[in-house]
Every structure is written in structure tokens, then in C-alpha cells.
């Protein structure tokens, strides 16, 4: 089973910025360690939502708007793709992600299998 592990953070409650340089480095180290964990097949950190462009097509015309599709306090900051036997394994991986304990939240979504 494949899972998209979405990392959400909320700048106003995130404790990341309050960390010392050393602690920040350690947190980044944790993210890289998870990237290399068995079963993790992909992932990336995203630029902030202010850099997003939303695209629609109406009557054949491409319309673009500045900003994310959904204006929410919690923004998708990155993701991993994870191949695991079951949801318990995915939950355990999600719980290891630093954002989960730093005021953010992780959303685990199974991919449709084809």
C-alpha cells in the first residue's frame, strides 16, 4: 500500500523558528533520515504558499491567480511517498516527522492502487 504523507505546518504556532541553529540542523537531519528510511520512495519540501499559482481553464482560456487554491492557516510544507504494509506503519512514520511535534500536523492518505 502506498501512502502520501503530507506535512502541514502553521507558521503562527510552529515552534521551528524558535529553535536554535543547532536544533534546526538536528531537525533537518531528522527529515533527511526519514527521506532515506526503508519504504520512503519520494518526497520534497515545498516553497511557501505565497509562491503558489492557481490555474483554471474556462472556455479554453487559462486563468491564473496568485496564491494557493485553499487559503488556510495550515499550509502543505512538504510530503513523502511511503510504501508500507498497513496504516499502522504509515502512522508510525508520520509520528517521527518533526512538524508533528512542533505545532504542525501530518495527514496520511492512501493512494488509489492500480
Amino acid at each position: 500500500m502506498q501512502y502520501l504523507i503530507q506535512i502541514y505546518s502553521n507558521d503562527s504556532v510552529s515552534r521551528y523558528e524558535g529553535l536554535s541553529e543547532e536544533e534546526k540542523q538536528a531537525v533537518m537531519g531528522e527529515y533527511f533520515a526519514i527521506s532515506g528510511a526503508p519504504g520512503v520512495t519520494g518526497g520534497a519540501q515545498l516553497q511557501p504558499p505565497t509562491t503558489a499559482t492557481t490555474v483554471r481553464v474556462e472556455d479554453g482560456r487559462t486563468l491564473t491567480t496568485d496564491g494557493p487554491f485553499l487559503e488556510t492557516k495550515e499550509a502543505l510544507g512538504g510530503y513523502y511517498l511511503y510504501e508500507a504494509d498497513d496504516l499502522d506503519a504509515a502512522i508510525e512514520l508520520a509520528a517521527r516527522i518533526p512538524a508533528a511535534r512542533l505545532g504542525g500536523a501530518i495527514e496520511v492518505r492512501p493512494l488509489v492502487e492500480r
Partner: protein, 375 residues
């Protein structure tokens, strides 16, 4: 039987359909050919064969599905271990914390209690369509998100067992204020858990707690009105059930249990004595409050303190509890104020409790107490 099938097939809907087919075949054949030597085994085997036929038919449609993998493994294994008891795996799946609590409760009653969807809907006072939708969504999630069908590994077991016990206790409490069938279901589930997990003290604690509370059912209401514990007719208590509750508690204590359910059961057990040991009860509530801080537990501790040391001390313990929307806080305060002769304050407290009370027996009790203040 359903538990075994779900375990074998890894799919709730398929298992349910197969079980229904097997029962239909049985009702046709058994009267004609006689009942097989092992009816349970016969039903599981028949249902399993039906399910595999169905999977074979669908094989052309679904190129690669988990069901298919399961069914092949099942065909190999099935001859050796026909009918394992997989109720425990099933309850851990139904009570998985990735499912909403109301879905956990509904699934547990459906899969382990054998209740029909309309029965569960009625028990929880929701429309049948809502309950059906809830069950469908939960079953879909179990499959789509691969919620595992297994007894959790040791590092997950404590949390997961807590979740299972919470579901069983919630079912019990839904039944406590009237719907006896739910309380019975919960006690049956608790008994099954104790049988399946004989080394877990909290399982015995919960079973003991439910048995002891439920044993007073017949005495709790008289002429449609709530009867306070100390005014109950003890000859109406179900004494064999009290004994069973005490035995379960003994077992939990022998396993060195000191968790929330064991403590609550110990309190309930002290209440079955000829005269309640209030200082000991207050101490146990204190221990419980340290384990799981909660204003409701503090309120109960205050009641015990009032009995042990007088209403004045009980009121002191109630002051400052953050429970303004809780009818029992106001009912308790009202009773203590009444006993102290502070009628005006008692009246306000009774009225507040009455405004929050839902169940009829409790309303009647509060109304009578309020009327008596004027005498």
C-alpha cells in the same frame, strides 16, 4: 463466525454477504440432510467457499486486488486451520484509532455484537440511513487505508487496548440509563475480552466495573424515578452478578492491576458492602484522579468526602470544579446544601440540575426534591 471470515477474507462486506449465503444454504439443507457434526465449522467453510467463488467471478474485473492475494493464500491454508477464533483481531480493527469513535462503536456492535444496522441506529437514536452510511464509510476506510487486521504488536498494544476498552465502556454507558440491551452487549464483549486476553488486569477491571454497576439496574429506578444508591432496595440487586464482578476484580488485582478500571471497580465493589467504607472510597478516587485527572472524578471524591467527613467538607471539595454544565455537580451541591439546611442555595442548585437533566427518572427525582424543599 463473522470474525473468522473477516480474518480469512480481509473484507467486511464480502464476509457478511458470504455469511448470509451460508445461513441461507444451511436453512435449506440442514432440515433435509440433518445438521452437520460441527455446524460452526460447516458454516465458515461454506461461507468461505462462496466468497472464493465470488472472488473468482470478479477476478476478470479486478486485475490486481488485495482480495485476490488473500483468497489464494486462504485456499492453501484453509484445510489446516479451518476455524480460528479471530474475534480479538476483529475488535482491534473495529476499534482502530484511525476510525471515528462513533464508527468504532457501530462497527464493534455490528461485527462482534451481531447487531443489525437498524438495531444500532435505534440504540444511538440516529436514522438508519445515517448509521448505514457511517458503517459503509468506516468499512471503506479499513480497506482503502489498509487498517491492519491483527492483534497490535507489543509497542502499540497498551494504547490500542485502552481504545478497545473505551469503546466497550462507551457502549455500556449508553445502555446504563435505560437501554439494557447495550449494557448486556458491553458485558458480553468484556467477558470475551477477558477470555481472549487473560493476562490484562484492566480487561478484568472493566468487566468487574460493568458487572457491578449493572447488578444494581433493577434497584436504580422505582416507579419511573431515580433511586439514589443509599436508598436502594438491596434485595433487588443481582447478587450472583455482584459475585461475578467481585471475582473479576480479584483477578485484576491478582494481576497487579492498579489502572483506572481496576480502581473504579474496586470502588464499585466497596459500595456493595453492608456499609460503604467512605474514607477508603475517597482515597481510591484520589488515586484515580492522580492517574487520570478529571473534574468528574474530583466530584465523586467530594461525594465520598462528604459521607466520610460531613457535607461541609464535601462542599469545599466541590468548589472550584470546572463542571458548570454537568447536572450531577449541581445535583450533588443541591443535596449537600439541603442537608446543611441552606434551602435557598439548594433550590438554585436543584433548578440548575433540572435544567440540564435529560433522562426522565432523574428529572422526576430532582422535581420531587425541589418540591420537598418547601415542606
Amino acid at each position: 463466525m463473522l470474525a473468522a471470515l473477516i480474518g480469512l477474507l480481509g473484507d467486511f462486506d464480502l464476509a457478511e454477504e458470504a455469511a448470509q449465503e451460508a445461513f441461507a444454504i444451511a436453512s435449506e439443507r440442514w432440515p433435509r440432510d440433518g445438521t452437520p457434526a460441527n455446524p460452526g465449522r460447516w458454516l465458515v467453510a461454506t461461507a468461505r467457499n462462496r466468497a472464493i467463488d465470488r472472488i473468482r467471478r470478479e477476478r476478470t474485473l479486478v486485475a490486481k486486488s488485495k482480495l485476490l492475494e488473500v483468497s489464494e493464500a486462504v485456499e492453501d491454508e484453509i484445510e489446516e486451520q479451518v476455524f480460528g477464533d479471530e474475534r480479538l483481531e476483529l475488535i482491534f480493527t473495529c476499534c482502530h484509532p484511525a476510525l471515528a469513535m462513533d464508527a468504532q462503536v457501530a462497527l464493534t456492535l455490528r461485527a462482534l455484537g451481531g447487531l443489525r444496522t437498524d438495531e444500532i441506529a435505534r440504540a444511538f437514536l440516529v436514522p438508519e440511513a445515517t448509521m448505514a452510511q457511517r458503517l459503509v464509510r468506516a468499512k471503506r476506510k479499513i480497506k482503502a487505508a489498509a487498517i491492519p487486521f491483527r492483534i497490535p504488536p507489543p509497542h502499540l498494544l497498551p494504547d490500542r487496548l485502552t481504545a478497545v476498552l473505551a469503546v466497550v465502556y462507551l457502549i455500556f454507558n449508553e445502555g446504563y440509563d435505560g437501554r439494557a440491551d447495550l449494557a448486556e452487549q458491553a458485558i458480553r464483549l468484556g467477558g470475551a475480552l477477558a477470555e481472549l486476553m487473560p493476562d490484562e488486569p484492566e480487561v478484568y477491571g472493566l468487566l468487574a466495573l460493568m458487572l457491578l454497576h449493572d447488578s444494581r439496574r433493577a434497584a436504580r429506578v422505582r416507579d419511573g424515578e431515580l433511586v439514589l444508591f443509599k436508598d436502594q432496595d438491596r434485595s433487588l440487586w443481582d447478587w450472583p452478578q455482584v459475585q461475578a464482578g467481585r471475582a473479576a476484580l480479584e483477578r485484576g488485582l491478582a494481576l497487579r492491576g492498579r489502572g483506572p478500571y481496576v480502581l473504579q471497580a474496586a470502588i464499585a465493589s466497596l459500595h456493595t458492602a453492608e456499609s460503604s467504607d467512605w474514607p477508603q472510597i475517597a482515597a481510591l478516587y484520589g488515586e484515580l484522579a492522580r492517574l487520570a485527572p478529571s473534574p468528574v472524578i474530583e466530584l465523586n471524591r467530594a461525594v465520598a468526602i462528604a459521607e466520610a467527613q460531613g457535607p461541609e467538607r464535601g462542599l469545599d471539595a466541590i468548589d472550584g470544579l470546572d463542571l458548570d454544565d454537568y447536572q450531577y455537580l449541581h445535583a450533588t451541591r443541591a443535596d449537600l446544601l439541603r442537608r446543611l439546611g441552606r434551602r435557598a442555595e439548594a433550590r438554585i442548585a436543584y433548578e440548575r440540575a433540572l435544567a440540564l437533566a435529560r433522562a426522565h427518572p432523574e428529572r422526576r427525582f430532582l422535581e420531587r426534591r425541589l418540591a420537598e424543599l418547601d415542606l
